[in-house]
Amino acid sequence: MFVANIGKYFMFLGSLFTNRESFSTYFKLTIEECQLIGINSIVLVAIVSSFMGAVTTLQTAFNLVNPLIPDYVISLVVRDMTILELAPTIIALIFAGKVGSSMASGLGTMRITEQIDALEVMGINSSSYLVLPKVLASVLMYPLLVILAGILSMVGGYLVGVFAGIISPSDYIYGIRFDFNQFTVLFALIKSFVFAFLVSTISSYKGFYTSGGALEVGIASTQAVTTSVIAILFADYFLAQLLL
């Protein structure tokens, strides 16, 4: 069953690139999806990432009780945790919950109300027409959300650190800049591309092959989030093993 599903998933991916419509059709749809997937996620990502940075600062400071460890280590830890893990991975889990479930339920509803059949009868490759713009928009927008999350997380950490008197502004900035490895940013962006692809394709796959009624749409939506989250965690491990 699992192997059959994997095979069906790869065939589904293949179908996205066959019998495509015109470039202008995809361009328009992709821009619309960028709005839905990217722009509409900014507020949630901003809130989550700001608090993520703030809490990381507080907890790191709480654990660094040795007076021999300089204060700037707090922001150094915040920086590395944010770039390497929190921004790409935790935001991906949020992304799976918000965008993935929306994709699965949207496509599932289209399936059970015969809207997908209507596209097929018109001679349109429904998987390509409906899913490819979502995948493209996710892959385009999610890395931007991760960059935003990374910046806001460090800003959140700064605000809490400075206003709570945990760390001075100059120490925080010093720690952020100390021994910075640029590859970590590239690594975060590679992860964000992979996670965006996984969330969008898995969620679309689950929604696209929904059958039944409203109950099954709910189940497909839940499965989309669960499977996406598991795939993100596996991919996170493999990418860390492979690239770090």
Binding site: T109, Q115, G123, I124
Partner: protein, 250 residues
């Protein structure tokens, strides 16, 4: 004209269609009639290619469809218009965008020509001034009419309707039935309607195929259906007491 030859279809070992053959003529309203669960919708889905039959051939004006190349299948499908049971309108688009959709995706027509065509089709189904309404803002009957407008907007050669009267009151049902018949004759379309509604049969049934448990038991028209000697068909047609007593009196 559409011809089907020996269509077989099973699901999990259960035969749903058992060697169905028949012809659906151009310019006529062809009905596939039968009780619920007799395989009518499966047959329709096989004909339009949404389900692959296990065996058999389907010809669209002598062009074989089941084993056709991908390109030919797309070419034939672009000549098909279909009215789904629930209308299958795109929720995120308004009436005008729904009707214009096939033109947007399948043609390179300029916008003003597309608008003219959409307005013509909406007028044809009696829905002027509804262009900006969303599917959630219109009634079931209006959804069906928008579905018909979308099905004919691309000058389809073949029109398929899956239970066009389901969920509609008798008056609106007759309106939809007559609209389908008028459009069929006006544009000389090959129309196939799946139904279990006897009002539709009597109103528009130029050519009727009766299915029972996956078998084709009878073929005829609305003039001779009441004189059939097929027991299953009579049980279906004269299902209620009033109809039975009328038949006995005649």
């Amino acid at each position: 004209m559409i011809e089907i030859e020996n269509i077989y279809k099973s699901f999990d070992g259960k035969t749903v269609l058992n060697g169905i053959s028949g012809k659906f003529e151009q310019g006529k309203t062809n009905l596939i009639l039968g009780a619920s669960g007799t395989g009518k919708s499966v047959l329709l889905k096989c004909i339009v290619g949404l389900t692959q039959p296990d065996q058999g051939n389907i010809y669209y004006d002598s062009r074989e469809f089941t084993t056709a190349s991908k390109d030919l299948k797309i070419e034939i499908r672009r000549e098909i218009g279909m009215l789904f049971q629930g209308g299958a309108l795109f929720d995120s688009k308004n009436v005008q965008e729904n009707v214009m959709f096939p033109l947007d995706v399948l043609t390179k027509m300029p916008l003003d020509e597309k608008l003219d065509r959409v307005n013509f089709c909406l007028r044809r189904v009696g829905l002027e001034d509804t262009n900006s309404k969303m599917p959630s803002e219109i009634s079931g009957g209006m959804k069906k009419r928008v579905g018909i407008a979308r099905a004919i907007v691309n000058s389809s050669k073949y029109l398929f309707c899956d239970e066009p009267n389901s969920g509609l009151d008798p008056q609106t049902s007759i309106l939809i039935d007559n609209l389908i018949k008028e459009i069929t004759e006006e544009y000389s379309i090959t129309t196939v309607v799946v139904t279990h509604d006897m009002n539709s049969v009597m109103e528009i049934g130029d050519n009727i195929m009766f299915l029972h448990k996956g078998d084709k038991l009878w073929e005829g028209n609305n003039q001779n259906i009441v004189h059939s000697d097929v027991e299953e068909l009579n049980n279906f047609v004269f299902a209620n007491k009033m109809m039975r007593s009328l038949k006995e009196k005649s």
